[in-house]
């Protein structure tokens, strides 16, 4: 309590410091949510473990065909057995997780950048620009993207990991663009944007240095959830045989061996570990994403 000098009235102490930033709220909520925090730790462990081990592992050694060790069940030498080429499943699992995660991160980042750019410009300017962009986005959101990605993957000559991620990016940025656009549309009606405009700040500066930071928490949430989705899409495409080539295993490649009914029925060690790993990865990323989502919504916060 303080006493006002002139009137002598008591003024209650109010914290006049800055209100907590969006980022620190997200972090606080995440640590409070035990399931999400556990998932986050688990993810860090997996990422560190996979990227760490893959440095000392030799990819060409793992994918080398060994005709004397076809379809070995799990043993001390082959922790998770071998596949039809006598290749170690455990090694492939590590490399595959690394590849799947890497492409997941890459595509999420690229779609994020394009989506944020298009969404911000579209929402901030509105009018004709917005109309044209959004009709495009509507169109692509309706299309069966998976099919078109597969078709383009077959059409592109000199197919590589780079072209694969670019094709995925080309058809997956629309969701985030639409979200950012609707948020930017709300944001630009707020007083701070109007004030800034009146002061003569350039549109570019308002968009990227004033509006964008205010959308950061939503962007973090969407990108987290997208990461899970993109890993799912990549492994799905690899499963169908349109993702990574077999020489660069992904989690989907390992599961695709289960399209052979005998492997599915009798050799669980080939496809089950990769399946469980994808599922647990996606569940953990979703847990983190959902917790972050709750944190951005003040009504659902835990405190």
């Amino acid at each position: 309590m303080r006493i006002d000098k002139d009137s002598g009235a008591q003024i209650p102490d109010v914290d006049l410091g800055k209100s907590p930033s969006g980022f620190s709220i997200l972090l606080r909520e995440l640590i409070r949510d035990k399931v999400a925090f556990g998932s986050l730790l688990f993810l860090f462990l997996i990422i560190a473990g996979v990227f760490g081990t893959s440095i000392i592992m030799d990819q060409s050694e793992i994918i080398k065909v060994d005709l004397f060790a076809l379809y070995e069940p799990p043993s001390a030498t082959y922790w998770l057995g071998t596949d039809y080429g006598g290749r170690d499943i455990f090694g492939q699992l590590i490399i595959g997780t690394r590849n799947s995660l890497a492409i997941g991160f890459l595509v999420t980042l690229l779609t994020g950048i394009i989506g944020i750019l298009v969404g911000l410009i579209s929402g901030y300017y509105g009018g004709t620009v917005d109309n044209i962009f959004m009709r495009f986005v509507d169109f692509f959101m309706v299309l069966p993207i998976l099919m078109i990605v597969i078709a383009f993957v077959t059409a592109v000559p000199g197919y590589s990991i780079v072209s694969f991620s670019l094709i995925m990016t080309a058809f997956l940025w629309m969701g985030i663009a639409r979200l950012i656009r609707s948020k930017a549309l709300q944001e630009k009606e707020l007083d701070y944007v109007k004030a800034s405009k009146t002061l003569g700040t350039s549109d570019f500066k308002i968009m990227f240095f004033q509006v964008l930071p205010n959308l950061s928490s939503i962007i973090i949430v969407t990108m987290t959830l997208n990461l899970a989705g993109n890993i799912g899409i990549e492994s799905g495409l690899s499963f169908l045989g349109f993702g990574f080539p077999e020489s660069t295993p992904s989690l989907g490649t390992l599961i695709s061996y289960a399209r052979n009914p005998q492997t599915l029925e009798l050799r669980w060690w080939i496809w089950l570990p990769a399946s469980i790993l994808i599922f647990v990865l996606m569940l953990s990323i979703n847990n983190v994403g959902q917790a972050l989502k709750r944190a951005t919504d003040a009504r659902q916060r835990r405190g």
Binding site: L143, M147, I148, I150, A151, F242, S275
Partner: protein
């Protein structure tokens, strides 16, 4: 009302044109052209050139595009050079199978979503609701193809309750009741696998919709008038929450298409998705592009239907 429907229908025209351009680019980008598979290597190059000229393959791209559109409008998608038959006939056979699969999936999706959503929304925060929410959480994270593989592994191979591939037992006479039963039996596991995953978003939507509605003033009024709880739910809450869901089936089509590609592949079910994948591995590109076009059209029309139905059942949309 009619204005809105008309305007929404008009939007599909540029969408369809854009789709056709996309598919045309795709067809052009594919290695080889319509002649690559037809001719034997002994024909002399001058003859091939003459055939090219006659088929219009040397025309500028916009002439080729218009020719192609003319053909498509008359149902002519070209020849499949693997199966040596018109693409339209080839697709026709598979389309019926995929239609049955999609229909069964849609029915199962709603059969699962509606009771689960209602229970979860009505008794929220009970153990039952937590179990259902847990299921939606898991279903949301699990990729369809992994779930389908596990279903096939458990119910197809380990328990042996369902056939593990095909759409009908070979040798069954078409038209008989046994034929129908066999079809249904082959359909059930793929459809159920897909429905259990696709239904998740509908359950979540219905749950939050019901929880939202039941706190509204008009529900309080309905209760205050002395309506029984059943009547409040059937007449007031569900009327509000179920109708939009019924309109979602059109949006589901896009998801179903992606789903059928995986499901038909895993369960060896001879439908359009399976044809799509095999036409790629056989380099039968005229079949592939025709399928992309048809699936794209189905998705666009599905979204159109959903938008129209939604505007019919939900007056709030009409005001715009």
């Amino acid at each position: 009302m009619w204005k809105l429907i008309l305007r929404r229908t008009l939007i599909t025209i540029p969408q369809i044109i854009l789709l056709s351009v996309l598919v045309f680019i795709l067809a052009q980008a594919m290695p080889g052209d319509a002649l690559t598979g037809l001719i034997d290597p002994n024909i002399d190059p001058a003859t091939i050139e003459a055939m090219r000229e006659r088929l219009g393959l040397n025309n500028p791209w916009y002439v080729q595009y218009i020719d192609w559109i003319k053909g498509v409008l008359q149902g002519d998608f070209g020849q499949s050079f693997r199966f040596k038959m018109p693409v339209s006939e080839l697709i026709g056979e598979r389309m019926i199978n995929t239609l049955w699969l999609s229909l069964a999936t849609l029915i199962l999706t709603y059969l699962i979503a509606i009771p689960l959503g209602i229970i979860s929304g009505r008794f929220n925060d009970t153990w039952l609701d937590r179990a259902i929410t847990g299921y939606t959480y898991i279903g949301f994270a699990a990729p369809l193809f992994i779930f389908a593989l596990v279903m096939l592994f458990v119910f197809g191979f380990q328990l042996g309750w369902f056939p593990t591939s095909g759409s009908v037992t070979p040798g069954t006479e078409p038209g008989t009741f046994a034929y129908f039963l066999s079809k249904l039996n082959h359909l059930l596991l793929p459809a159920l696998s897909m429905a259990l995953i696709t239904t998740v978003s509908t359950v979540q939507y219905l749950r939050s919709e019901i929880i939202d509605t039941k706190q509204k003033d008009f529900i309080v009024t309905a209760r205050a008038k002395g309506n029984s709880e059943t009547r409040v739910y059937n007449r007031h809450i569900l009327r509000n929450s179920l109708l939009p869901i019924a309109a979602f089936f059109g949006y589901e089509i896009t998801g179903l298409i992606g789903g059928t590609i995986f499901i038909e592949n895993i369960f060896g079910y001879p439908g359009m998705g399976e044809l799509f994948l095999s036409s790629i591995s056989l380099r039968d590109y005229s079949v592939m592009t025709a399928l992309v076009l048809l699936f794209g059209l189905a998705a666009i029309i599905g979204a159109l239907l959903s938008d129209i139905i939604l505007s019919l059942v939900d007056p709030r949309i009409r005001i715009k």
